[in-house]
Symmetry: C2
Subunit: 229 residues, 2 copies
């Protein structure tokens, strides 16, 4: 579905440095170097209050969507909150992945507190800006071939073999690449980010290798695949 | 989408033993023991001709869908062939996963030859029969809670932690489980089957553990996630 620029988020611009998380080790191509967003959920701890100087629009969108005043957003409330913020038509599948990635590790439920929501919001602002920069004709779509540039500019050092696989997933089966709407661009990027962070949890020494049991492997991967849509 | 029993496949019943591939090692819960469907693509070798005694309906559906007479079915031709066979409304995402799992390993293209098509067809017949057995009210859907029974009866010895994750992927975000149409049931099962076989390729000694590089891990998983839909 095309994204309507008429409802573009009204939050302040992010600092130029934000989102530049290029891998300086060069040892291998992690999407994020350690110390970057990979651990960002820990940075704030779990849920609680909004971080100081949170933009009022962000607080407003959270509070308007938190219908049961639980202090958390479940998936449907998050979808609503993001729609208040101008992110329309994000699929259930993408929302599920977003919650899975941004939820507090300490929370057994699939929901976001204020601090996790702000993290997600900031990330979306980055991705939105990147998408718009690549959507040169303002059609609300970008070519899947532009994914590579967009990922690299977002600090995703994805091996070209993997990038090829991702891009091939977005052709129509005849090899003809299709245009991506913001939702698909976001889902794709979040999956790369999420899988990379899962892998890094199993590779604390950043060797580029992890030994996984079958159960662990399946548990790492399943949340990113088959899902209610 | 609901499956119409009016177009039920007309191929002969499969032998009782077919699909009973329970793990006799008990060492850990692989969805398939070695020697079972995991290696089944090798059994026939790649594409070529139909295996002896292939049911004429299967041959007919292949030949009717192979519009360019290439001797292979690409994704859109496969979708057509399966629709001729009574499998209506299988999503692009599921078709992509089916081709990825059943294509000849020797073929760099995403397409199926006659032999791979027969293998897929036989597998679908099993899954269809299992689905119908669980769709007690003939509504065209089954409860996601019944996935466990269905998987076990298909020989999928899935760790309950993993099964829980799969089932939670099919609730509507509020914890309320939803009914699955055949397409979703199939997609879910094929993802488990496919990921398990990928893992087994990296664990030839069947130890239950595999050491993976980041690139290999991503390449194993990406084809099952973000995809044109």
């Amino acid at each position: 579905m095309a994204y309507s620029n008429a409802h573009a988020p009204s939050a302040p611009e992010l600092p130029e440095s934000f989102g530049h998380q290029l891998n300086e080790e060069g040892r291998y191509s992690y999407a994020y170097p350690h110390g970057a967003s990979g651990q960002s959920n820990q940075k704030f701890g779990s849920s609680g209050m909004f971080p100081p100087e949170t933009h009022p629009d962000i607080v407003r969108s959270f509070e308007s969507a938190d219908r049961d005043r639980s202090g958390f957003l479940d998936e449907s409330e998050l979808r609503q909150a993001l729609s208040f913020s101008g992110y329309d038509g994000i699929s259930h599948r993408t929302i599920r992945v977003l919650v899975f990635i941004y939820k507090s590790p300490a929370d057994s439920l699939l929901r976001l507190g204020p601090k996790e929501y702000v993290e997600l919001w900031n990330c979306l602002a980055q991705w939105r800006a990147k998408f718009d920069r690549h959507d040169r004709d303002k059609s609300g779509t970008m070519s899947s071939l532009e994914l590579r540039d967009a990922f690299y500019q977002l600090g995703y050092m994805i091996p070209s073999s993997v990038l090829q696989l991702i891009i091939s997933n977005f052709d129509d089966g005849t090899g003809k690449t299709v245009d991506l709407c913001f939702d698909t661009f976001l889902e794709c990027g979040m999956i790369v980010k999420g899988l990379t962070e899962k892998f890094k949890e199993k590779d604390p020494g950043y060797t580029g290798y992890a030994t996984l049991s079958y159960d662990v492997f399946m548990s790492m991967v399943i949340p990113f695949v088959a899902s209610y849509d």
